[in-house]
Symmetry: D2
Subunit: 331 residues, 4 copies
Amino acid sequence: MTVYTFLVNKITVGVLGASGYAGREICDLVTRHPCMELVFASANSRAGETIRAAGRSISLIATDEAKLDSAGLIFSALPHGASASWVQAAAAAGAKVVDLSADLRPGSGSTSCNGTTVPYGLTELTRPLLPGADVVANPGCYPTAILIALAPLLARSLTVKGATINVSAASGVTGAGFTPKPELMFAEVAEDFRAYAVGNEHRHLNEMRAVVSEMGGDNDILFTPHLLPVARGILATITVPVKESLAQPLSLWRELYRDEPFIEVSDTMPSLREVVHRNVVRMSVTTAANVRQPTLIIVAAIDNLMKGAAGQAVQNANVMFGLPEIAGLPA
Amino acid sequence: MTVYTFLVNKITVGVLGASGYAGREICDLVTRHPCMELVFASANSRAGETIRAAGRSISLIATDEAKLDSAGLIFSALPHGASASWVQAAAAAGAKVVDLSADLRPGSGSTSCNGTTVPYGLTELTRPLLPGADVVANPGCYPTAILIALAPLLARSLTVKGATINVSAASGVTGAGFTPKPELMFAEVAEDFRAYAVGNEHRHLNEMRAVVSEMGGDNDILFTPHLLPVARGILATITVPVKESLAQPLSLWRELYRDEPFIEVSDTMPSLREVVHRNVVRMSVTTAANVRQPTLIIVAAIDNLMKGAAGQAVQNANVMFGLPEIAGLPA
Amino acid sequence: MTVYTFLVNKITVGVLGASGYAGREICDLVTRHPCMELVFASANSRAGETIRAAGRSISLIATDEAKLDSAGLIFSALPHGASASWVQAAAAAGAKVVDLSADLRPGSGSTSCNGTTVPYGLTELTRPLLPGADVVANPGCYPTAILIALAPLLARSLTVKGATINVSAASGVTGAGFTPKPELMFAEVAEDFRAYAVGNEHRHLNEMRAVVSEMGGDNDILFTPHLLPVARGILATITVPVKESLAQPLSLWRELYRDEPFIEVSDTMPSLREVVHRNVVRMSVTTAANVRQPTLIIVAAIDNLMKGAAGQAVQNANVMFGLPEIAGLPA
Amino acid sequence: MTVYTFLVNKITVGVLGASGYAGREICDLVTRHPCMELVFASANSRAGETIRAAGRSISLIATDEAKLDSAGLIFSALPHGASASWVQAAAAAGAKVVDLSADLRPGSGSTSCNGTTVPYGLTELTRPLLPGADVVANPGCYPTAILIALAPLLARSLTVKGATINVSAASGVTGAGFTPKPELMFAEVAEDFRAYAVGNEHRHLNEMRAVVSEMGGDNDILFTPHLLPVARGILATITVPVKESLAQPLSLWRELYRDEPFIEVSDTMPSLREVVHRNVVRMSVTTAANVRQPTLIIVAAIDNLMKGAAGQAVQNANVMFGLPEIAGLPA
């Protein structure tokens, strides 16, 4: 016989920008979260409409009408560029804030809010910075998968100095947002596959470069994203020139992530089906045969809306508030 | 007013291994071809059954019962390993043969049949070798896209000596064949994406390495294929370290392929929708920004069953028989 | 040896409303048609852009700038309501016109244009009316499948007087048009299925009722359409109370459609894959077991953009101009 | 502040036939269930392999090796015909049993096990019979959606005596099982849609007829299922001739199902996306316009693996054991 007891004082939560895919996912997670209570959800373009989250209807209000001081925790899923000023206002109103936009991330130009440096919320790698923070910058979806995959090599300085890390990644269409566009319609995406932002100029590159550099990597990143005919998920295939061949490359990943509840290091290569609707990064590593330059191939998979956005945002909030890190998150 | 006149003496055609995806596509193309007439289609495992091609029903016979001397042209879509001996028998019976298997391709160990060297049928690059040949080895699907994409660089010796060419490619499920397997069922493939043969050991690598080497390239190839939730199509994203930056990289491709009816060099990056059901390679090229090593990014798309298999096989047969190269092929 | 000779004086063709799915399909068919030549393609909202048809680029002009008298044949794929006045102007300018909108169809309120009654172009059933017509009203996609399926019963007065014919049909998303809407985006449609226009009020009902009535059927139609996660195709499942059980129901269909090149009566039930990209109606019929009221079940499949729109429009034009009915059409 | 306390004595659970889609779903639900503990999972054809459930690996044993007396609750997801004898043995060994096969359902020929009548576990309609039962027959997927949809009419004797109830339904491919077949492969199912078992002879009809009759309905059922290119979900579109028009038809459904946690009566027509991965029946009703015979149109949606199989099985087990009916189930 087992006895479970929970004592919960629910945190009041507001969501800014709740009508997009990430915003709705946050509303869903907050509604299911044992220690959180949704007090408002805003979306200017769809104010007055309702969305469904965890089986309930939620009324969207205009962002201007959000009572920022009514929430102890605010998630901003506002568009890039529009988010920072709202984050600043929310923090000034006394809320802890997780910002899902790129505005305050490394490489964005400024990581400062109300005079304080905003830590980057790639939880497994920056966890100690989060408990004291008023604002946390939630990572982008591609950077989450790619940086978690690279960290074990960078931590040991195993990448070849000056070499290019090649990343070919593919994302489901929710990564492109909820605004209707001809190229995102079913009849255009089904049975199609294409590369985009080809030429190494995707807006996530600054974020990845800044963090790789902070981790001591002297490497270029050559990143080509693709659009998949699936709703959710990112798979990144990464080839990294390394200084020497490793007998057991997987052991580096297992070691660094041994106690992480949301990191899965697998003997077999991951697939989207294994991670969709779960707040995990799942990955595996192998050595490339038949090449002169010792090279590792890492494949990492995430759900772009969970560990790549809303799930990690809640994970960061859990750490900021001292809750169990896994609370309310599907592993 | 225009007057068209065709005088046609139809070539009798047999297809060995007609029940798989490539074999059925050949039957379809042959049935529609203005200068070909299908006289038999074999498939041991499904002998006695019928398949539909171009709206007609075709009865499958056992391969052992095929009258090889009744056909002037035989396509073999038999499995790798099983094909070479049938190709030999068909050629000995007097037919011209296009072998879609890997058995006689460069890098396969032997490219000899009945004492004669078998040319490789990557039509645009090996066209002069085909008219006199009795047997032609039809390229693999991935090699078709990748080698056509790389040829302009290799022809000018622009790749960095010793450097690794990185290829991330994705294929629709018809590339995995028609034999039912749990991992190819709809409920497993839909909404999924995964890498396979990770570690640089795919069986197409020997073919690509042999041809790159013949074209003078001293480069390793690091090739990672992926399985897409689409029926047809291959997209290959290729990054190539080059000796120097090129002001107009696309002009090299335009120049080499200027008069090719089945090669499309495009200003915009290709997608699967643009090539499916067509016998073309469509591609584009750009220079990678933000990397120290000058690098080109090439994206190439084909239909794996058309230019990657049956279409190119018919294209090769057209050249072998002196027919217009485009006859019977959807451009 | 066979000798084929074609003498062709190409018909000049204009397309109004060329940027939607049906309009683009017409441009594609006209470009491939051995006896037609595209002279203009209009689309107000996308004037100045180009579309691809049969591998070529076509520049879209504003509809106001179309020189109606430059074309011997004009297809209007303009929206319902906006089409009739353009059809009238085109006919007045001397062109023969096929109108793909609902404006002049039976049940639309008026089937008159420039003082003449416009025949309905359900080709197999109204063929004799077409050669002398200046304007033909091309049927809707659902009515094409459903009326072709019902005609053999109605022609023999076999339906139960006053009984309800039940039609459950499903269409691919191209049936909903090319205008971006949230509910048509990939991430919303994939893995979904839903009924729409539930309550028997779909706008195609008037058209079906009028034609059923003209064919002598005293029957209500209860029609529920559904949205399928596929790009193209309509499947209609129709249950019809009949006066008596028929020993060989399929023979009625085989008899009526014996010589039709675009009608396939099959022993097995049809599927979308069998008809997509083809200008056919494929169907089968069986008797319902285990019900007291003798009832037939008919299943009919078409490609909504081919036999359901652009293909049938070209088929009608072929008949209007005395061309072979199959010219330029994929069977 | 809220205090939750759970005292749980976990029920030991065995699953027979755990390698199919329904069996794996049960393992997943049991593993997540706060009051259940999985003690064995069997699958003859895949004994020795492992499956993943709720993030854990589960080893499959041969069914012959299952210790039936080690479990207080056994779910049988064995094939039809093979299940009944195992259910009998499991019950004889002292376990409570939920049988997901058709062997003991109404209309199957025998609903008796070890001399006792086995109640039908359409939970919302047969709840009072379940607490005392040793064995419960879990309904089929189609019958679950269709019978729940019809019950409010049948309960009030509103259907026209002798009339045919027309059901057109569509299911995702997991409904066809996990055994690989050519027609279930991705490249065959994607972009396709087809009817099957056409002619009113689907094996679920006996079950539906028996229950409709028990509920007092004197009606024939004309049922045509279709195969959808989605992984999961069933949508049933039902037309029912009724004795008289109802001003507020939806109120009948709202009234009967007012307090049901797993029944959703909606103003808008349901779609698969709204029910997938949830243990609910979601439905709406409207009156058909433009027909002489007063007729209602009901559309009902379920997840075929949840409310249509594993979810309802757990729901029934919850009732049999006196647990909260919603325990462990995703609403």
